[in-house]
Amino acid sequence: MQRIGVFVCHCGTNIAATVDVKAVAKAMEKEPGVVFSTDYTYMCSEAGQTLVQDSIKKYGLTGVVICSCSPHMHELTFQKAIAKAGLNPYMLEIANIREQCSWVTKDIKVATEKAIVLARAAVAKVVLNSPLTSGTTQVTKRALVIGGGIAGMQTALDIAEAGFKVDLVEKNPSIGGKMAQLDKTFPTLDCASCIVTPKMVDVGQNENIRILSYSEVAEVSGFVGNFDVKIKRKARYVDEDKCTGCGACTEKCPMKKIPNEFNHNLNNRSCIYIPFAQAVPKVATIDPRYCLMLNKGKCGICSKVCQAGAINYKAKDEYIEEKYGAIVVATGYEQIKVDKYDEYAYSQSPDVVTSLEYERLMNAAGPTNGHLLRPSDGKEPKKIVWIQCVGSRETCDPTKGPARGKPYCSKVCCMYTAKQAILTKDHYPDTDLYVFYIDVRTPGKNFDEFYRRAVEQYNVHYIKGQVGKVTPENGKLMVQGSDLLLGEQVHIEADMVVLSAAIEPSPTARPLATMLTTQMDTNDFFTEAHPKLRPVESATAGIFLSGMCQGPKDIPETVAQASAAAAKVIGLLCKKELTNNACVAHPNEMMCNGCSQCQGVCPYGAITYVEKEFRMPDRTTKVRRVAQVNEAVCQGCGACTVTCPSGAMDLRGFSNQEIMAEVDAICQ
């Protein structure tokens, strides 16, 4: 039999001015289960809490109802207070007679009546409450970072620095990501390689970091603190431990006409290759699509020239399985394919390039050794036109078929365009540069100053307007656009056109999100748990977000988010054990009929089904399929409880009976 105590708070005059608190306390005395009822000026004060605690002991209370402000204010306060007096913290209910009653009702009689109803509902519920204990789970002290770009590297380094083991998975042969391909960075114009390659070396040399390059995440199961991940290590046909990265094989390889992805296919590489000079790990990889030995069984030259004996044509994809406490997604971005923008003649002329291709053309380690030469004839361009927002900020009209571009702003294009223009002018002062833009967006430290430098000091011609058409003609590119400020058509005879193509999330992100049971928005960017207060966490506990995979951002922002994600991971891995939510779903196995509908509605993947043996009344046994809830994963939303047709699934702390008791009390 429950022994309930009711404590009515005056909240100074906040409640007592409109609610007859003494009448409420008196009315509660008659409620079933109530053995003590009183009122006090400030229940949340030290003295108020002591009153509650003393009463628990004096009257042997098993449950407490506090009639006061919103539970969002002081539920935790009172849970702690009653726990100190030896009661289970979940044997508490709060009747919200301030926000829902005294503050919104003017008439004292009416407010008092309402307060009594609310208190009665709380009493009806607490009578049915049962003590709840939160389970705990252990934390695997190891983190997984998916993606080896600047975001992933920074996250991995920060976690490793705190003393935890990190596995860094990268799908390409080397870490480094997009940043390793850039020339210089805005607004400081320091060389990207000079910043990123030392980071890559740090990652490679850090004892706590294991780089799993040329690898992909294949399967993920488990939950926060205890993820089980299967990682596919693609066969590179070269023993990573033996290869010294001397490059002899790449020189002798007869297949040399393979488009070089690192240089955006602007030049060629050999079939066995090291993507770039500073690659980490600096080991060769055989491209199985072109290798003569793998495809035709002839050649074998690389094996012959390799002093280290690292070549292994018989290598197979391997899978490794590992446990992690936390996972960070840092899958980065790609530029959209611009060939569907036929008006810009990207597929018609090699001199129309994307901005990332232009980065390689300017890069000292790029295909032209840093000399800006037109891809078509190798001549220096004199007139260059940039087109902004190619595929960004596109309003889509669903009646006109699927959109070509993206509705969002890609955020970095305005700044890198200014950077590319300044760098071009620095090297080739006699060039004539034009930028067609919708808006120039430069929020950021020293960003606007940088853009203004391009306009004022470097005389880059910024034209507000869009380009209608680019036509290749006699080795030139005829650019036809409109100047919206002057209200006239502009014709430019350009040597090169650079497209600031929209960025989009990596195509690997969507399948990964499915594996991780994390949410994505319609643009396939990962959704953060809260847009303002939890920007680096996903809604799935234990999964964190770093870099462009969550939305367009520049390098400083990416690094900041990467470190923030690392801080969150460290905070998680530092914990000895994780306290689970106590108000979780739990199935009554005897009633569960195995239909599996609940499994489909759980947003956290907390429900699994097992075949379990049951003893029947006639002493036989029967194997039945029943639901199991992983209490470490369940967040207690209750979606499953309503889906369950047999009512086998119930929610602790908000059970069917408890809620219905409240309904009954209110409708008395």
């Binding site: 919103s70 539970p71 969002h72 919200n96 301030r98 926000e99 829902q100 009653c101 503050w103 919104v104 009702t105 003017k106 009416v110 407010a111 009546e113 309402k114 109803v117 609310l118 509902a121 949410q519 959704t527 809604a539 108000c583 509605v601 947003p603 967040q635 207690g636 939303c637 209750g638 979606a639 409880t641 309503v642 889906t643 929610l651 908000f654 069917n656 809620i659 219905m660 409240e662 309904v663 009954d664 209110i666 409708c667 008395q668």
Partner: protein, 148 residues
């Protein structure tokens, strides 16, 4: 059981509010001292998707004249997808009740965010007015539960 004929009828409305958005919205209404009819009594649930159709039928059985289901705006659910389930369930349930001849205006789903204190007050005021116009719930009542 006695039926008190003299007592003036006052609509009784049960509002199920999700803990994160609409319950906080009610708190905000309180903080802003936005006054609204006392007929509305709130039951806190973790998420609107916790609201079993059974609870709604139970409220009507016990004499409620209207039931409000309140949750976060679609897309804002604390549990990411709960209110999408609510939306379908309640659409189908209310359509069925309507089919059975129970006035559909007695049931309503409203999305109220934690910031929308004024809207919370508006919604419950408007709903109370609707129920007052509709009169007492007679089609889904359990007479044994009607006490004076």
């Amino acid at each position: 059981m006695s039926v008190n004929e003299n007592k003036e009828w006052k609509p009784l409305i049960v509002a199920f509010c999700c803990n994160w958005c609409s319950y906080s919205g009610a708190d905000t209404a309180g903080n802003n001292r936005a006054s609204y009819p006392d007929n509305v009594k709130i039951i806190r649930v973790p998420c609107s998707c916790r609201i079993n159709p059974l609870f709604i039928l139970r409220a009507f059985q016990r004499g409620a004249d209207g039931v409000l289901v309140m949750g976060c705006h679609p897309g804002d659910c604390h549990y990411t997808t709960g209110n999408y389930h609510t939306r379908r369930r309640m659409t189908l349930l209310f359509s069925m009740l309507n089919y059975l001849g129970v006035e559909s205006a007695r049931t309503r789903v409203e999305w109220v965010s934690a910031a929308e204190g004024a809207r919370f007050a508006e919604v419950v005021t408007d709903f109370t007015k609707t129920i007052e116009e509709l009169g007492e719930n007679r089609r889904l009542e359990d007479l044994r539960c009607k006490t004076n």
